[in-house]
């Protein structure tokens, strides 16, 4: 990727690293941060040093901030997350307790509670929190890899503002990789341009822009004054109204109404831009108009494509695809085929076009001479292997392949460089000028201008909601600016139930003891005694009976069925009442069934009672500190758990995208298989990014790590274990003494 590169950056410098996509700028940044991977992944030649040392040895001296906000936040709670880097570097807990509030304040997040859920922040806040996590390591160099590419304009200003404040005193060296020059121009004093892994320009920003501006703009860099040309404005006369919304209210499936009272008319030949602040419901509205989310109230009416007018939410997937083309924010949500060519054929095929027609459509889109998508050379490539810009063009083309009268796009220009942006604009303009309607949710002012879009602004739902989207009320937020509480300085909350105070490792062990000890015998006496003792002791755990009962329902249902199995198929003895094929109901099988019923309850109920409040962070702390399992593995699992909400949202989007692509009517098994594979691909993407983010935060560094959250083992934990053992042993002894002991091995 990089070859024969010579470069030196001095303390306190502020450098902007530019170059076309694939020029090696991100690779260089990751090499400096020491997160490029090991010897089994590639070849490294030459020397690369930070402070005169190898980057992997200088971990903590360089702080790397990446593009994807979800790739760098590691832990569920904000305070823990900021402490994660210093913990990995073995910084003493008392020192971390000082650094965490400093880091929060340095990025302007002092109002954020240490317990605040890191999945419930806006993009800009996530990036600032990630920056705080980097700063807590006290780096000498900040390496920023397109830190604002996935943010809306508010988020961009937040992050750039925080960085500007940080480097103001020139104590920290700054290297930024970006294709948006205007964001960073006021801040940097040196610009380095890479091409094919070599430095081709190096100097003050004005000088480099003057000499290299044209080349850079051609390569996709957003050079001020050299913005991409806009297509000609659309036709003067609009077509008939194709899409109507009346009194529409939109909501996410598991949430409340986000926006209501929406009246919207969209005509053929026009572009409508849905705008509004974060959380105003732009994407939700778009998905509702596309018939992928049910309307919470009001109506959507689509009257186009020669089909009867109606609400798209009620249509079959294969009908939807001929009338609406939907482009998702993340193209990887909507790819379902193994080559570009097949991907383009999916829609027309689902719509029931004959094979010759499908082939004709695909050939025209991949036509070598006209090459409208600039993808003809990649027709046999897997869609997931394409670059971001290529994926974007393909996703638009798949939506257009069935020639739908309406095109709906969700943040289509996110993360695009100026060249791929211009190509995207051109594709949309062609659809518009052919009389098609376009609705897009976007923050991008340039996109709105370029397509002469009519703006439909969604208000923030309520003043409290605008902040609620980012700071939900489930967590306390301090109104006045003040230092956040550090994790170790958390005040003791209200007196918790015993079950919640037990060390999770003790709870785990105590819950498993019946499963390990009671299993030696299968008889009603031992199981019954154990169950009786457990029921007597359970109130002491302090878990409300209602909670306990609700959690036990699956077990209370399953236990009788397991017993029924044994009635039918248990070891026979005594009188046999029914015999039919393999079924043999006998005195013996019924007695064993009773034993099984009691035993299942005696094994499973303690598990529910003791492990009633699982929390990944607490469990991880206990496994790492109390059980002394390898920290890297425990923390890897805890970090992955944080992605559950992201992966859940992915799974939902995958399902919606399949409906939008016309293949949502397929059988359940086939659909599920497609979603599973899609989810695993996205897991790999997110995991790969997270690995780099975690490594940049010192994860995996040699030497012992520190733990900010203590996981104490108290007398009560020992007591719980002893009681659990005593109960099971008493039960087994009772069986032995009454002569009921029955070995599980026949």
């Amino acid at each position: 990727m990089l070859a024969e590169l010579d470069l030196e950056i001095n303390p306190g410098e502020r450098v902007l690293l530019l170059g076309a996509s694939g020029s090696g700028k991100s690779t260089l940044l990751k090499a400096w941060a020491g997160v490029l991977g090991g010897d089994d992944e590639g070849v490294q030649r030459g020397a690369l040093q930070v402070d005169g040392r190898a980057p992997s040895a200088a971990r903590g001296r360089t702080g790397l901030l990446l593009q994807d906000p979800d790739a760098q936040l590691v832990l569920a709670r904000s305070g823990d997350d900021v402490a994660f880097g210093p913990e990995n570097l073995g910084v003493p807990v008392s020192e971390i307790a000082r650094r965490v509030p400093d880091a929060f304040a340095a990025v302007g997040l002092q109002f954020l509670a240490a317990e605040h859920d890191t999945t419930r922040l806006s993009g800009g806040q996530k990036q600032r929190l990630a920056l705080a996590g980097v700063l807590a390591m006290r780096p000498g160099v900040l390496l920023l890899d397109e830190p604002t590419a996935q943010l809306d304009p508010v988020g961009v200003r937040e992050v750039a503002g925080s960085v500007a404040a940080l480097v103001a005193d020139r104590q920290i060296t700054l290297v930024v990789v970006e294709h948006r020059v205007d964001v960073w121009a006021p801040l940097v004093d040196r610009v380095i341009v890479l091409e094919n892994g070599c430095v081709i320009a190096d100097g003050p920003i004005d000088e480099v822009m003057a000499t290299r501006g044209a080349d850079l703009a051609h390569g996709g860099v957003w050079v001020p004054g050299r913005e991409p040309r806009h297509p000609a404005p659309g036709l003067a006369a609009l077509g008939p109204t194709v899409l109507t919304a009346r009194g529409l209210a939109v909501a996410q499936p598991d949430g409340g109404v986000i926006a209501r009272g929406i009246d919207l008319d969209v005509c053929g030949g026009e572009v409508v831009a849905l705008t509004g602040p974060n959380g105003a419901g732009k994407s939700t509205l778009l998905l509702t108009l596309a018939g992928l989310l049910p309307a919470a109230a009001g109506s959507v009416n689509l009257d186009a494509g020669g089909a009867p007018a109606g609400d798209p939410a009620e249509w079959h997937s294969r009908d939807l695809v001929t009338r609406l083309g939907v482009v998702f924010q993340n193209p990887e949500h909507q790819f379902v085929a193994v080559t570009v060519r097949d991907e383009l054929a999916v829609g027309p095929r689902a719509a029931g076009r004959d094979p010759a027609e499908v082939a004709r459509v695909v050939e025209s889109l991949l036509d070598v001479r006209r090459d409208p998508l600039h993808l003809s050379a990649l027709s046999a490539a897997n869609p997931f292997t394409l670059s971001g810009g290529e994926q974007r063009r393909l996703s638009v083309a798949t939506a257009l392949a069935t020639a739908p009268p309406i095109l709906l796009l969700d943040e289509p220009s996110f993360g695009q460089d100026s060249r791929t942006w211009a190509e995207l604009v051109a594709l949309i303009a062609v659809h518009r000028d052919g009389g098609g309607a376009v609705v897009m949710a976007t923050h991008d002012r340039a996109l709105i201008t370029a397509l002469s879009a009519r703006e439909f602004a969604l208000p923030a739902y309520t003043p409290s909601f605008a902040s609620a989207a980012t700071l939900p009320s489930a967590y306390p937020v301090h109104p006045a600016p003040r230092a956040p509480r550090t994790p170790s300085a958390l005040p003791a909350p209200r007196r918790q139930a015993l079950a919640e105070r037990i060390n999770p490792v003790a709870a785990l062990a105590a819950a498993l003891i019946p499963a390990l000890l009671l299993v030696v015998t299968i008889d009603p006496v031992s199981a019954g005694v154990a169950l009786a003792l457990q029921l007597l002791l359970m109130p002491f755990l302090g878990v409300p009976i209602r909670t306990l009962a609700l959690r036990s329902i699956p077990i209370l249902i399953a236990a009788p069925f397991t017993a029924l199995t044994i009635v039918l198929y248990g070891r026979p003895s005594g009188e046999i009442y029914v015999e039919f094929l393999l079924v043999r109901i006998s005195d013996g099988s019924m007695e064993l069934a009773l034993a099984t019923l009691l035993r299942v309850l005696a094994i499973a109920l303690p598990a529910v009672a003791l492990f009633s409040h699982p929390d990944a962070t607490r469990l991880g702390d206990a496994l790492g500190q109390t059980a002394r399992l390898p920290a890297r593995f425990v923390l890897g699992a805890v970090a992955a758990m944080r992605l559950v909400s992201v992966l859940r949202a992915d799974a939902r989007m995958l399902e919606r995208a399949r409906r939008a692509r016309g293949i949502g009517d397929r059988g359940r098994v086939r659909k599920l298989a497609g979603i599973v594979l899609g989810l695993l691909v996205l897991s790999l993407r997110r995991g790969s990014a997270l690995a780099i983010g975690m490594e940049a935060r010192g994860f995996g560094a040699p030497g012992p790590r520190t733990w900010v959250r203590p996981s104490p083992w108290r007398a009560i934990d020992t007591a719980i274990l002893l009681v659990a053992i005593a109960v099971s042993i008493t039960a087994v002894m009772a069986a032995v003494l009454t002569g009921q002991f029955t070995s599980v091995f026949p």
């Binding site: 590169l5 402070d51 970090a639 758990m641 790999l684």
Partner: protein, 211 residues
């Protein structure tokens, strides 16, 4: 603070090791958590329909249990490190417990542990050197063995020998098919997307099907 780059040459050759890299740990964790999420989807589809029916089937219900065994084999086939099958299955089981609240709680972890061990033992016997279709199927069957042994001891100790036999054979076949063959197919599909480029599995399979 000074960062610099100069041009002394130290060429190194790619070499696989048994040591887990950070990316191995993180990818194994994220895939396993996704597996836990898939368990929950599967449980929603499977339990309400078949749980009551299962009581009347003489052990054949185990034919569907292989779905719960795939994360261990899948993670092992991708990261190819000692302990990967055990870790993958255990984390997937933990994730399903942590996501859905409890259902069987720690008992699910115990299942994950034993099932993961089953697959792990097979891969260890192959000295962690074979990752093709046959090893995958054997590992899936190994996970199936772990599953049926635990289930028969924990839940069905009173069952007659016929039931135990049918349950065992069904569970092992199911493990071989869903967890073994299934994971192998998934890895091939994933390799084609280029998402496995940092893994030997992705580089081997990816280059074979690259365009």
């Amino acid at each position: 603070m000074e960062i610099s780059e100069s041009d002394t040459i130290t060429p190194r050759a790619p070499r696989p090791t048994f040591r887990w890299r950070v990316v191995d740990i993180v990818i194994a964790s994220v895939l396993a958590v996704a597996g836990g999420l898939i368990f929950i989807l599967w449980n929603l589809a499977y339990n309400p329909v078949t749980a009551p029916l299962a009581a009347f089937i003489p052990g054949l219900q185990a034919l569907f249990h292989g779905i719960w065994l795939f994360p261990g084999v899948l993670v092992a086939l991708i990261v190819r490190k000692p302990g990967a099958a055990l870790y993958g299955e255990l984390v997937a089981a933990s994730a399903s417990v942590l996501i859905s609240g409890t259902e069987w709680g720690p008992l699910t972890l115990l299942s994950g542990l034993v099932q993961g061990l089953g697959a792990e033992l097979v891969l260890a016997l192959l000295l962690y050197r074979m990752w093709g279709l046959v090893p995958a199927i054997l590992a899936g069957a190994g996970a199936g063995v772990g599953m049926v042994v635990l289930d028969l001891i924990l839940w069905y100790p009173g069952a007659a020998i016929e039931f135990a036999l049918i349950y065992s054979v069904s569970g092992i076949i199911s493990g071989a098919v869903f967890a073994g063959l299934g994971s192998w197919l998934i890895v091939r599909g994933l390799a084609r997307t280029g998402a496995l480029s940092r893994f030997a599995a992705g580089r081997e399979l990816g280059s074979r099907v690259a365009t």
